[in-house]
């Protein structure tokens, strides 16, 4: 991996708000521009950012003498860093990856995700347990992922990126500097290279989502005549490793949790003929649960408990809020 002779080395970070992708992009690009003698640009996909929503961060790097003119998002990246393994399921995550490109993703050890088959045959795929390392080192996944990225891309000088990382935290959180540096260094060594997982030939096509409605079909005036259709959204990605689990035997169906749940994901039904309760809490619709644990905190009988989200657990325990309508 080296700086291209024309254009820029382009990176795209695929993430969820709150995982630190924007900060990582800033640290990387700041180090490159101020300390590695490169020119560059850095920005993030802009929306009304809320913690837990999709975030994309873009970095362009080139030789000092090459002016940065385009300000468009990176559509055909040389490198993609995926901050949350669940994003691998979204085909747009890999969109436009160049055939000789690099994909780094955050995941604990395990079988190679099937989704990686969509990568170019000649692309390099790398797994690192950024969350695991970050938790162990009291850091954040972005420090780990930066470490891996710098280890794999030779022209990204680790010393300068570590310096920028330290500088970022030295003011407000001096206690985090050493732990971030440990996380970075572990990221630089504790990664796994997947050879030959991609099956696609050549550069991957650029993905540009088309709006559902256009000017011939959009109801006049921007009206939405589908009340409550956010119910089709799947917000599981917002959870960061933990989920509330209902232990039915302890539940007294008091309804306290329901008053504090922001995500309207607690499912109630009328009690059956044999039940002592008129209304019963059936469980959680994890499609909507963002894992805030307010229900757990409020539960007077500890029937709702914070548990680690192991793969498949949410699907196994999920109680649909709108059965027969949204499966």
């Amino acid at each position: 991996m080296s700086l291209p002779t024309e254009g820029f080395f382009e990176l795209r970070f695929e993430s969820i708000g709150g995982l630190g992708a924007h900060g990582a992009g800033q640290i990387l690009a700041t180090a490159a521009v101020l300390h590695m003698g490169l020119n560059g640009a850095q920005f993030s996909s802009y929306g009304s950012e809320k913690k837990g929503s999709l975030v994309r961060t873009f970095v362009r790097l080139g030789p000092a003498g090459r002016p940065v003119r385009t300000s468009a998002p990176v559509e055909a990246p040389n490198a993609i860093v995926v901050f949350h393994a669940a994003l691998l399921r979204n085909p747009a995550t890999f969109g436009g990856l160049r055939n000789d490109g690099l994909l780094i993703y955050n995941s604990p050890p395990g079988p190679v995700p099937e989704a990686l088959a969509a990568l170019p045959r000649t692309a390099l795929a790398i797994r690192v347990d950024a969350l695991g390392i970050a938790v162990a080192e009291k850091s954040r996944p972005n420090a780990v992922l930066l470490g891996t990225l710098c280890a794999v891309v030779p022209f990204l000088d680790s010393a300068h990126v570590r310096g920028a990382l330290a500088e970022e935290f030295a003011g407000k959180h001096p206690e985090a500097v050493a732990s971030n540096d440990r996380a970075f260094r572990r990221g630089a060594t504790e990664f796994e290279v997947h050879e030959g997982v991609g099956l696609a030939e050549g550069d991957l096509p650029i993905v540009r989502p088309e709006p559902v409605w256009g000017y011939e079909t959009q109801p006049v005036g921007g009206i939405i005549a589908e009340p409550g259709n956010t119910a089709w959204n799947d917000l599981s990605l917002s959870r960061t490793g933990w989920m509330p689990v209902l232990h039915h035997d302890k539940c007294i169906h008091c309804g306290t949790c329901d008053l504090v749940c922001p995500d309207l994901c607690l499912v109630w039904r009328d009690g059956g003929p044999d039940s002592t309760f008129e209304r019963e809490l059936m469980g959680v619709d994890y499609r909507y649960c963002k894992g805030c644990m307010r229900c757990v905190e409020s539960c007077p009988t500890s029937a709702l408990v914070r548990e680690a989200e192991t793969p498949g657990l949410a699907d196994q325990l999920r109680v649909p809020q709108f059965p027969g309508f949204i499966s």
Binding site: S71, G222, C292
Partner: protein, 767 residues
């Protein structure tokens, strides 16, 4: 005045300036803030609006760290901010503001006032699409509204230009022949939020030398020489004032190149009034404003390599318009595509296109064909493929000597008949909404009494908001509304003012609302809902709508909306419409990134009341909005918290009764925001409990003018010192350090004072 550049300049090969500079890596907003620091403005009046907010945020951070001494004043809205700036600028010092989109439009009527009375200042505009529907991303529909205000307008295509042109703006606006306020506009997000390598002054002497001191103009602060500023001026006179303004623009036309040249000598960076890229022998060109022009330059290189003689024009100055430079640059160009990032609806071209066409029309010898295109609205990206289309259209027109489609939108999507958003949820059965709160009027006192059904029973009420919304984990608004919704009976029509709850529930083409929902911008929601309420009753009276429906009108606002929208909300309150105004108070402008609101308590850290060695959070106490509404003599006013659900639900049930039978009710509801209070997502209960038990946020109601505490922490033996609350949040933890002891004493004293007053009102039969 067009400067010719035949080959792309490589950074580093241009002539060095005489001033000492250093390299940095900054976004447009950061560059504007750095320029402000280096200029050393006296006063900044502002109101946060995406995407310009970071200018004030960065300055707040620098101020807390002791890096500048600009007096920063958060307005009650952009209109107020513009007034603050006008007054401050009249006072004779240097003044700064930053805004975007409807913020610019809200302040628009102040802009001609300031230009017409000839009071210089600098306004940075991070250009953004004007609502509605609300779109936070960049286009030029806001800045085009400023074209007729009499302000100088400079265009900054990248963060470096944002930095540089702020210095030029001060000099140009303050010049005695000009004496006008100046806008520096740059593209929202694309430039405001994209970090680039820039050079900034590292040379205070050079900056001082360039800026000089602000010339002394008449000021109401000159007490020795009284003058009248802003007379009443009618028909024989106003036109003459405008001749002077027009002449000032003419003077600016001459002055601006000289100021730019002086700046270039310092920095090495040139700003021709019309940037011309590879134009000398061009047959075809595109004209674009700001960042899109830079993208098109790359494409011009690509087309040149293929043998097409094309170039790019983009003005660095929009007012005064570089008319002559455009005439010269296009004199021998066959055809040009002019792209506008905003339409002048019905004029068959955006303002840039119309003005270039007008410029060419004056030249009898010019026969350049013009292709007018609208592109990139609402932040739609402009990339190389778009630029290729624009060049191709100009080249084709030049070759054929005809323009097939003189005016069109570029890049819009027709849509497909077989595509539609996901279907909505089934309607909510009205009967299922009833019976959770039983309201009775006590005949002896005239007051309402409420009995609630058990909490578990309320789980049978379908939620009026669907899940799947995009709020942060732990967000307090949704529990708040869920509790409200449990006791509201019958049909409800909601109006949400701009804020988190609006943004996260209505991302097109999805909506979380299962009932009729209206958004209006938060400066005007209450007025809008009052109009809807009155139309409802009038149409029922005229028998156009059925009688006997059980409908309640509810406005939802954040505490921010009760700053900028206070005037219309009080207007609606005084008119006593049958509606509810419910405010979820999370103590800041959380939707735009946690800037201070007037409801932010003293000392709390926000992104515009930062904490550092030189400053420690907000400098004045929180607004007592409930008492303001109580002074409107409404039938019912209350405070509540999502942390006391049964208290909240009783009050909401009363509120609905009063809104149906007597008139406007107002409720202020303390609502949790873990992201910006800097707590864990599940900390709502202890934090809200502490806010209440410390008497910072007393729970009470004012029913027909009689105040009653609904929970008295003293009587319950739970009263705590404010530190017990402040220690629970990251945004207040700094206050517990010994160097802020005085601030904490002040907070405690103010909390005590307000509590004692409230308790006295509670005890007094007439209050």
């Amino acid at each position: 005045m067009a400067t010719e550049i035949l080959t792309p300049p490589l950074t580093g090969t241009r002539a060095a300036g005489t001033a000492q500079q250093k390299v940095d890596f900054k976004s447009g907003n950061e560059a504007a803030a750095l320029a402000a620091r280096d200029i050393g403005f006296h006063v900044m009046g502002y109101f946060p609006i995406t995407p310009s907010t970071e200018v004030a945020e960065n300055l707040s951070k620098m101020q807390a760290d002791g890096e500048h001494e600009i007096v920063m004043i958060a307005g009650d809205g952009e209109h107020g901010a513009a007034g603050i700036c006008y007054g401050a600028a009249l006072g004779g010092g240097r003044v700064l503001n930053a805004t975007s989109a409807n913020g610019l439009l809200f302040s628009l009527e102040q802009l001609p006032v300031q230009a017409g009375t000839r009071v210089p200042m600098v306004l940075n505009v991070a250009a953004r699409a004007v609502s509605g529907p609300l779109d936070i991303r960049g286009d030029h529909s806001d800045i085009y509204f400023a074209l007729n205000t009499g302000w100088i307008m400079l265009c900054a295509r990248d963060p470096q230009a944002v930095y540089d042109l702020n210095f030029a703006a001060v000099r140009i606006g303050e010049h005695p022949d000009v004496r006008l306020p100046v806008i520096v506009c740059y593209d929202g997000f694309v430039t405001s939020h994209q970090k680039r390598r820039i050079e900034v002054f590292d040379d205070a002497d050079a900056v001082r030398g360039f800026l000089g001191t602000r010339p002394e103009y008449p000021t109401p602060l000159d007490l020795e020489h009284p003058k009248t500023f802003g007379p009443y001026m009618n028909d024989p006179d106003l036109i003459n004032n405008k001749v002077q303004l027009s002449r000032a623009m003419d003077a600016a036309r001459t002055l601006i190149p000289a100021v730019f040249a002086e700046l270039e000598a310092l920095t090495g960076r040139a700003y021709p009034v019309l940037d011309a890229y590879r134009m000398r022998d061009a047959d075809a060109a595109v004209v674009l404003l700001n960042s899109a022009a830079e993208t098109a330059k790359e494409t011009a290189d690509e087309r040149r390599a293929l043998g097409e003689r094309v170039g790019v024009l983009s003005p660095n100055v929009l007012r005064p318009f570089p008319t002559e430079a455009f005439r010269q640059a296009l004199a021998s160009v066959d055809a040009v595509t002019i792209g506008d990032r905003a339409d002048s609806y019905g004029a068959d071209g955006g303002n840039l296109s119309l003005e270039v066409r007008a410029a060419l029309q004056v030249d009898r010898h010019n026969d350049t064909l013009v292709v007018s295109r609208i592109y990139g609205l609402g932040g739609k990206d402009f990339d190389a493929a778009d630029a290729r289309t624009f060049f191709a259209e100009a080249v084709a027109a030049g070759r054929s000597r005809t323009v097939d489609t003189p005016f069109a939108y570029h890049g819009a999507t027709p849509g497909r008949p077989d595509r539609a958003p996901r279907p909505g949820l089934p309607p909510i059965p009205l009967d299922a909404t009833r019976g959770m709160a039983h309201v009775q009027r006590d005949k002896s006192t005239g007051k309402l009494r409420v009995e609630l059904e058990p909490i578990w029973k309320m789980t049978s009420v379908p939620s009026r908001i669907a899940p799947g919304h995009g709020a942060c984990p732990g967000c307090g608004y949704f529990p708040t509304f869920h509790q409200i919704s449990r006791v509201l009976e019958g049909d409800i029509v909601v109006l949400y003012q701009t804020g988190c709850a609006m943004v996260v529930t209505t991302g097109y083409p999805s909506t979380a609302h299962r009932v009729n929902y209206v958004h209006n911008l938060f400066q005007n929601g209450a007025a809008t809902l009052s109009g809807l309420v009155e139309m409802y009753h009038e149409r029922v009276r005229r028998k156009e709508l059925p009688e006997g429906k059980d409908v309640t009108f509810v406005m939802i606002s954040g505490d921010g909306g009760m700053d900028i929208g206070m005037g219309p909300a009080l207007g609606a309150a005084h008119r006593n419409h049958r509606m509810m105004i419910l405010e979820y108070d999370n103590q800041g402008y959380m939707n735009t990134g946690a800037q201070l609101s007037y409801s932010t308590p003293f000392g709390h850290r926000t992104s515009t009341s930062e904490v550092g060695t030189a400053a420690a959070g907000k400098r004045y106490h929180h607004k007592d909005t409930a008492q303001i509404f109580a002074a409107c003599h409404l039938p019912y006013v209350f405070t509540a918290s999502e942390g006391y659900p049964e208290d909240l639900m009783r009050k909401v049930a009363k509120a609905q009764w009063y809104a149906k039978h007597e008139g406007l009710v107002y409720g202020k509801i303390l609502s949790f925001c873990p992201l910006n209070w800097k707590t864990t997502d599940d900390a709502a209960e202890p934090v809200l409990q502490a806010a209440i038990d410390t008497c910072f946020f007393p729970l009470y109601e004012v029913e027909h003018g009689h105040t009653a505490l609904t929970y008295d922490p003293e009587a319950a033996g739970r009263r705590q010192a404010v530190t017990e609350w402040l220690k629970l949040m990251g945004k207040t933890r700094h206050l517990l350090k010994s160097d802020h002891a005085e601030a904490v004493t002040g907070i405690q004293a103010e909390v005590d004072r307000r509590w004692r007053r409230l308790k006295a009102m509670h005890e007094h039969p007439e209050l």
